[in-house]
Amino acid sequence: MTTAAIDAARAHGAGTRPGETIYRHTVAARTTHWAWALAMLVLVMSGLQIFNAAPYLDASDKSDPARRVLAFDSSTQNGHVVGTTQIFGHTFTTTHVLGYTDDGDGGQDARAFPAWATLPGMQDLADGRRWHLLFAWVLVVALVTYLISAAMRGTLRELVLRPSDVPKLLPMQLYYLKLRRDPPPHGTYNPLQKAAYTVVLFALFPIIVITGLALSPGVDAAAPWLTWILGGRQFARTWHFTAMVLLIGYFLTHIALVVSTGAWNNTLSMITGWYRLKEHDGVGP
């Protein structure tokens, strides 16, 4: 369906009643959605591979154990190797889960994240970097493509949180918690969805790209202010990791909601573009 046809359909008020099928996601939105899904999978796994080479994070410019916020380690205690995770000075035993884990070759080794979570599986910093630096481009190209196409189509307006949505955030959360019978009236996306998409598109994605670039000595020489505003190179690494944790949190919430609000309808709509309206679903900003 062409852009003009979608607009015409909307103008005629088509697809605003439950059970009706509307064309919701453009080709650009669907393509970039799956590009992000793939890029995030590859970037997280290859990022953990890279992280394993120096499994600690400091809130500083140069490495500084006195400013360590997270560290994974392994040591021998009473003849047994144990893996530990240290967060803000608190140490937890995490043997076989974190710190001392599956090496991808049938054994256990002193590695922060296990082989199943990393790309490649076995310890391989060089190829982890190759994967990471390729799919960083996939993430950036998808982000720019999506923002340009959505801005031109006008669909960005449906998705961005506005001041008028803020009072609806709490009622929407109460509805999700089943403490309220009906959601507040809203357009294509509800206020909590808008908040999540706005944070991901305009904060987390840009932050994870910028903090990643700040780790590059070449970028650091060309734009030293970038690393400086982030608190230094090791701090940039800490922010980069934090943004990843938040994006994983977003992803898990996203999956939970996709499944709980109609996994088939939601997934199909992100493949074909066509979405079957449910009760309370709106269309528009």
């Binding site: 080479a53 970097r129 190759r130 630096l133 000595p217």
Partner: protein, 246 residues
């Protein structure tokens, strides 16, 4: 937990566990060409521009972390250490008009440069050191590279357990950068053997593995493919990027 969500999560976990062989074959298979192609793009986009940040004396790591291969233990190198590098000569040859053989005294006599810069290791850690030495550009100017020279190859004294010798290379643009240094001193003392004595490269605009230690010869070449494994350096031959600005 929602039953469908539980099933979906379990299936994904199972998928991730089973995909070990898939990950290895994607990394080493036909897709490898695509994986390697990003390096050219990053080199084009980021390149070597501007100056690495220079720090104050107070920022220096007095115990600078030792990295890289083991300190050379062969008789050639230990012999040099024994007579405090009096017999050491840095050779500069290959595609040059005036091949050089420079003693430490000659290197120290050249206009020195001191820089306090951060060393960023490919593993992720950083350390700050005060480096003093001769800009590589100064030494190249003495040797006068020929017009067809494109790269400096740094041959080193260190070898790994399998006998493979360390080497590195830079293009002449990176070599001419004012902060690309042939370092002789670290933190106001002559380099000790563990830190690459008597001469090491220090290039703060790229990751640490480019800063070759124990340099004994700089060879100017048109192409580094015939040297070592052909990728331009010891770590590059093992899959690391030749352009290490990111």
């Amino acid at each position: 937990m929602n039953r469908r969500l539980f099933v979906a999560t379990s299936l994904s976990a199972l998928g991730l566990t089973a995909c070990g062989p898939v990950k290895e074959s994607l990394t080493m298979g036909p897709f490898r060409g695509v994986l390697l192609s990003t390096e050219k793009l990053n080199h084009e986009v980021i390149g070597t521009h501007g100056m690495a940040r220079e720090y104050a004396d107070a920022d220096v790591d007095l115990e600078f972390r030792v990295n890289g291969l083991d300190t050379p233990a062969d008789s050639t190198y230990t012999g040099l250490v024994r007579n405090t590098f009096r017999d050491y000569k840095l050779r500069v040859d290959g595609l040059v008009d005036r091949p050089q053989s420079l003693s430490l005294a000659a290197l120290r006599a050249a206009a020195p440069r001191t820089q306090i810069t951060r060393h960023d290791c490919v593993e992720g850690w950083s350390a700050i050191g005060k480096w003093r030495g001769v800009p590589l550009a100064t030494v190249l100017a003495m040797a006068q590279p020929k017009l067809n020279a494109r790269y400096c190859v740094f041959h080193c004294y260190d070898v790994d357990e399998s006998g493979t010798r360390y080497y590195e290379s830079l293009d002449l643009h990176e070599a001419a950068h004012p902060q690309t240094l042939l370092a002789l001193d670290l933190n106001d003392k002559p380099l000790d053997p563990d830190h690459g004595a008597p001469v090491r490269l220090k290039i703060p605009t790229q990751l640490g593995y480019k800063s070759a230690k124990w340099v004994n010869r700089i060879e100017l070449v048109a192409d580094f493919a015939p040297i070592g494994g052909g990728a331009g350096g010891y770590w590059e031959d093992q899959g690391y990027e030749w352009y290490a600005g990111i």
